[in-house]
Amino acid sequence: MNAFAAFAAGLVFGIGLLLSGMTDPSKVIGFLDIAGSWDPSLLFVMGGGIGVGVLAFRAAGRRAQAFLGGAMQLPQARDIDGRLIGGSLVFGVGWGLAGFCPGPALVSFGAGYGKAAVFTAAMLGGMLLYQAAERLIHEPRRRARHGA
C-alpha cells in the first residue's frame, strides 16, 4: 500500500513536471538566463507547488503518523553550514550547464531521451562519489573529532 501510494505520487509528480515545461532543458536555461531573454515560467511552477505544499505540510506537521500508518518523517536538520551552501552551489552549476535537475532528468530518461540517460548515469555516479567521500573522509573525521 505504501509502495502503491509512492508510485502514484511519482506518477503525478512526473506529469506535473511534463506539464510545467521543466522537462525541457532549454526552457530551464531560459529561466536561468536573467541577463538575456528571460522566461519566468519556473517561478509559476514554484508558486503552484508551494501554494499546495504549504497547506499539505501544515497538515503533516500536526500529525505523528502518516495516513497509511507509517511515522511522519519530516527533516530535523536546521543547520545552515558549508555543506548546505557549498553543495547547493555545486548543484546549481551543474543545473545551469545542462538545464537538468534530478526529477526532470528521470522523467526525460523515462521518455527515452538518450542524453537524459547520459546525464542520469553521471548523476548517479556523482551520488556514489559523495557516498565514497562520506565513508572514507568525512565519517572517520567525525569519529575522530568526537573521540569515539
Partner: protein, 142 residues
C-alpha cells in the same frame, strides 16, 4: 533583462506546479516522506531493506509518467543543447552537489519552502544563484 514572451507559459507552468504540489502532499500525508528526488534516489544507493520499496516505487512513477502522458498527448517539446561531455560533467556536479546540499529543486525548492524551512530557503537561493551565474558565463562570455 527582457522577458521572453514567446516561451513564457504561466498557466501550464502554474498547473504543472500545482500537480507537483499535490504529489508532494500525497507522499507526505500518505507515506510521511519528503518528495525530494535527489534524496529518494540517493537513498537507493545505500539501501536499507525497509526503505527500498517506496523509493523504487516513487522513481518508477517518475519514469512511467511520460508513458502515461503519451497515451493522451504528444510529448511537450524538449531541446537538450548540452553535448556528451557537458552532460557527464553536469550530471556529476548535480549528483555530488545535491547530496552534500541535502536536496534539490524538489526537496529544498518545493517541499522545503512549503515547510518554511530557512535551511531550504538558503539552499534554494544558493543553487538558483549558481545557476544564474553559470548560464550568464556560458551564454554571455563565450
Amino acid at each position: 533583462m527582457t522577458i521572453d514572451w514567446n516561451h513564457f507559459t504561466p498557466w501550464t507552468s502554474l498547473a504543472g506546479g500545482v500537480l507537483i504540489g499535490i504529489a508532494a502532499a500525497m507522499l507526505v500525508l500518505l507515506n510521511g516522506r519528503i518528495a525530494g528526488v535527489s534524496g529518494i534516489v540517493g537513498g537507493l544507493l545505500s539501501p536499507r531493506r525497509e526503505e527500498i520499496a517506496w523509493r523504487l516505487a516513487f522513481v518508477g512513477g517518475l519514469l512511467a509518467a511520460p508513458l502515461l502522458w503519451r497515451l493522451f498527448a504528444a510529448f511537450p517539446p524538449a531541446r537538450i543543447d548540452a553535448g556528451f561531455g557537458m552532460l557527464v560533467a553536469a550530471g556529476l556536479l548535480v549528483g555530488v552537489g545535491t547530496r552534500y546540499g541535502g536536496g534539490c529543486t524538489s526537496g529544498h525548492g518545493i517541499c522545503g519552502f512549503s515547510r518554511l524551512s530557512p535551511r531550504s530557503m538558503v539552499a534554494t537561493c544558493a543553487f538558483v544563484a549558481a545557476g544564474f551565474a553559470t548560464v550568464y558565463i556560458a551564454r554571455h562570455f563565450s
